[in-house]
Symmetry: C2
Subunit: 149 residues, 2 copies
DNA sequence: GCATATATTTAAGCGGACTTAACTAAAAAG
DNA sequence: CTTTTTAGTTAAGTCCGCTTAAATATATGC
């Protein structure tokens, strides 16, 4: 019980640490890139879901279709996205990253990874083994809670 | 070597997972609250650093003093922050969260913790022990890389 | 086939966050 | 004690992202 509380707190702390580093590094990168956070989040969504329609995006970004449509406009003009007709439904559009867009997002991800890779490098083989084991335990736990949702 | 690569990738994946859940849950919470992301990030900084001056904030948020001053203005009016004179340097201001502001930030943090706590609950005692060990290994590694910076 | 629903775009307009420049006041330097 | 530097505010103006409302075009239901 008392131990569980302590454990929960160190897990929380690690979530904080990962999140803070990630956000900080991403925000810095995006600011320097000249693109806005809104544009970045949109491209991130497209990256995560591969191609998707306008309404898929507005749903996940919790905003209106109109807003997404306008954002996509600018990103198409900037050559970061393509917007093509969905062959199965000619009302719908299929939004995809261009090569340039994909490179941009992947760079932003790599920036975040710099720190976590440093962390990995600081471990001995034995430590690495123990941490790997823990990560796979967490993987299992995640599958368990997601199947419940 | 080949194992290290694999390890690095699962660590990266966990950083992604934590970050994605965190950001998603925070963004949702903040949107529903009526405050803006800019206001939220500012209050988050104040929370992390306890009291701090305008220029401390603008430095960490990578923006101008003027921008921060105006944001703080609105948050003082909204009764989320106090802005008082620094007794040691009467040019400077000391920005602090009000009770209401602190509650808001702590709620936003608790929202993020819902998921990670579910994860913790899904572990057996033995699994918990192994994960706890791994987290303390990562703690040590972090101290090591931070002392190098 | 006609009415309705869906997917998206366009236009107008609002509010917010940011920038620059000028300003006030206090501290530090000489 | 004057000059310079530092901390912050204020004001004007810009740009961006968002919203609402109307429009277009395609798909679906009866």
């Amino acid at each position: 019980m008392t131990n569980s509380l302590q454990f929960s707190q160190s897990l929380r702390k690690w979530m904080d640490t990962f999140t803070y580093r990630s956000m900080h590094d991403s925000a810095r990168f995006v600011k320097n890139s000249g693109y806005s956070m809104a544009q970045f989040f949109l491209m991130m969504q497209v990256y995560r879901r591969e191609h998707c329609g306008i309404s898929d995006l507005s749903e996940h970004l919790e905003t209106s279709n109109a807003a997404v449509s306008q954002l996509v406009d600018k990103l198409v003009q900037a050559n970061m996205l393509t917007r093509t007709e969905d062959p199965n439904d000619r009302r719908a559009k299929k939004v995809e990253l261009t090569k340039e867009g994909r490179t941009f997002i992947e760079e932003s991800i790599n920036v975040r990874y710099l720190w976590v890779d440093q962390l990995a490098d600081a471990l001995s083989n034995e430590e690495e083994h123990k941490v790997a084991k823990a990560l796979s335990i967490l993987d299992e736990a995640m599958k368990k809670i997601e199947s419940r949702e």
